[in-house]
Symmetry: C2
Subunit: 330 residues, 2 copies
DNA sequence: TGTTATAATGGAAGCGTTTCCAACGAATTG
DNA sequence: CAATTCGTTGGAAACGCTTCCATTATAACA
């Protein structure tokens, strides 16, 4: 593609200016508009692309953010990444993704940390902020996405309220008995706090309304396998009009499958509320709690950029409120 | 953590040698063993870490491989990545992961291609090799993992044979009617070839044995949502002892859910063979076709390293054979 | 008109490596 | 013993950029 590499000198010669001027054009320095235009033209003509390494070495900025994501295989994470990237892109920044798919990979990151020298910030998606202790030199800006920490910038959902919404809705629809489907992620890097909060909100409203949520009304299940099928069947057959809160759309889908096999009709024989509003939720008519996923990515990016570009400004923590999306399952 | 940066000069001074010697120690050059040891000691003492950028700029190697993965959210990909990384690590190489979660991200990669200048090779996981046309300057070594191309090094599974195995096994277990569950991935970057091959092998054996596989015996379904539930119910209730081949363990799981709801017992009321041997397959007793996932990663890494380290050697293409894992569902 | 402040620019120095070549001492050879 | 070779080593040059300082051109002012 590029035959010989074009350097800043070539551009300078072509535009008949000094290399300093070219550099200034590149880095938003002070340049006379006319000169700037001439330089830009030269850049375009020669197809010049600054050498990343030289740039770094000379003390420039890498314009890169390290994004740490867990192995969790949901659409949720990809979507955040998508908007996160899009927002960075607008400011000419890039994300580099490091999936923490296993403890080993995490250790690798810590011991190597070769990335640390080449990024301007770190974003943790859903990942427990505690891990920072192991390697973070606390100079590097950090942002937490869908995760909390008292001293760090973060953007997250009020999951407690999400749980409350679900409970309130189910109550208003005259559910008789209540159940929660809890999807367990075993990755120690992922904080189960979200789930606990969702459940907490759900439980608190129920108790407030004099309905309890006992241990056996919570069905735990492996993230991939879903909750125990037998338990779901029991719930659907034994109770007249159970109100079910799936802490995850995935788990709601499992229940929908089972229900359909049993000939149980949603909204009539049972009530179901999911959580996430995944892309397919509309197709199957799932009532669910929506998270502002796109905002997570976008705001997350803004927050980290703020830290980098204007470190003197105070840290911001942004909370979103979940929204109930009404569909056919209630 | 590191307070001031330690440079090669500091090390040289500490070890009382020239910088050239230190560099030679770092890059496996010729150095007197005694000197080498002294230098190594200085490196350890000072906690010296070579500056990545300076290294690159000076024409060194980046020791990095770009791994392109699709958005598909299966355990399969993470596991390959895991072993891929482990193998690279042994040779002091690193992978940098770029998920192609959308066309936009792909375009971004192409237009930017800032990574291209800083990696020594590219690995495509499951991704259609055609995309290379758009940006690959064909100087950079490439390896295809679970994907084929006549001129490129690749490692893949004989999926056709996997399909055959499934058919043969189901026939041997006296299945009466045959069905295939086909999971559709809509990402244009992912080649559906695997699926086609699995299906092809399955069909060919059936036809050979005078059992046909007509259109309506193939159930297509969205990757996340699974095959149409009604169709699965029909299969399980209408036929006496259907032999079902799920082209994906995920889809096998969907069927298992439905069956269980209907009170149908695997191996007795129906026969089921999956594909992938995911980690949970054993737990649910799913008969399945095993792919040597760990080998994919390992061999993939070896292949790309071969291309980089010994480009004069001929390109290798490695094919694996699938294996049938017998469990409770047949 | 001469003086001073302001805006724009050129290019040397420096970033931390690798690589190459010259130089050195020791070992081998004639 | 001189000449040559070999195994090591030191360090200058180069990589392509950013930054800073000196310089020049221009405008503003007295």
């Amino acid at each position: 593609m590029d035959h010989k590499k074009v350097t800043i000198k070539d551009v300078a010669k072509e535009a008949r200016v000094g290399i300093g001027t070219v550099s200034r054009v590149l880095n938003a320095g002070v340049v006379n508009p006319k000169t700037r235009e001439r330089v830009q033209k030269a850049i375009d003509k020669l197809g010049y692309q600054p050498n990343f390494f030289a740039r770094q070495l000379a003390g420039g900025k890498s314009r890169r953010i390290l994004a740490l994501i867990p192995e969790v295989k949901t659409e949720f994470h990809w979507r955040i990444l998508e908007t996160f990237d899009a927002c960075l892109d607008r400011k000419d920044y890039q994300s580099i993704i490091y999936p923490l798919t296993s403890m080993k990979r995490f250790e690798n990151l810590v011991s190597n940390m070769s990335f640390a020298q080449e990024v301007e910030g770190i974003a943790l998606l859903t990942i427990n902020a505690d891990i920072l202790d192991d390697f973070w030199d606390s100079q590097l800006p950090v942002v937490l996405i869908e995760q909390k920490h008292p001293d760090l910038p973060c953007v997250f959902l009020n999951n407690y309220r999400g749980g409350k919404l679900a409970a309130q809705h189910l109550i208003s629809k005259d559910a008789t008995d209540f159940f929660a489907l809890y999807s367990v992620v075993e990755n120690p890097l992922v904080d189960p706090l979200h789930m606990e909060e969702r459940l907490g909100g759900f439980r608190d409203v129920l108790e407030q309304e004099n309905r309890s949520l006992s241990k056996d009304q919570i069905v735990y299940g492996d993230f991939a396998l879903g909750p125990s099928h037998a338990k779901l069947t029991e719930i659907l057959t034994k109770y007249e009009r159970p109100g079910i809160f799936a802490l995850t759309d995935n788990f709601a889908l499992f229940l929908l499958q089972v229900a359909s096999s049993l000939g149980k009709v949603p909204a009539k024989d049972f009530l179901l509320v999911g959580y996430d509003n995944q892309s397919w939720a509309e197709k199957v008519g799932l009532t669910t709690i929506e998270q502002p996923i796109d905002d997570f990515g976008d705001i997350g990016a803004q927050l980290i950029l703020e830290r980098i570009l204007t470190p003197e400004k105070p840290i911001r923590q942004i909370e979103f409120n979940p929204q109930l999306i009404l569909r056919a399952t209630t």
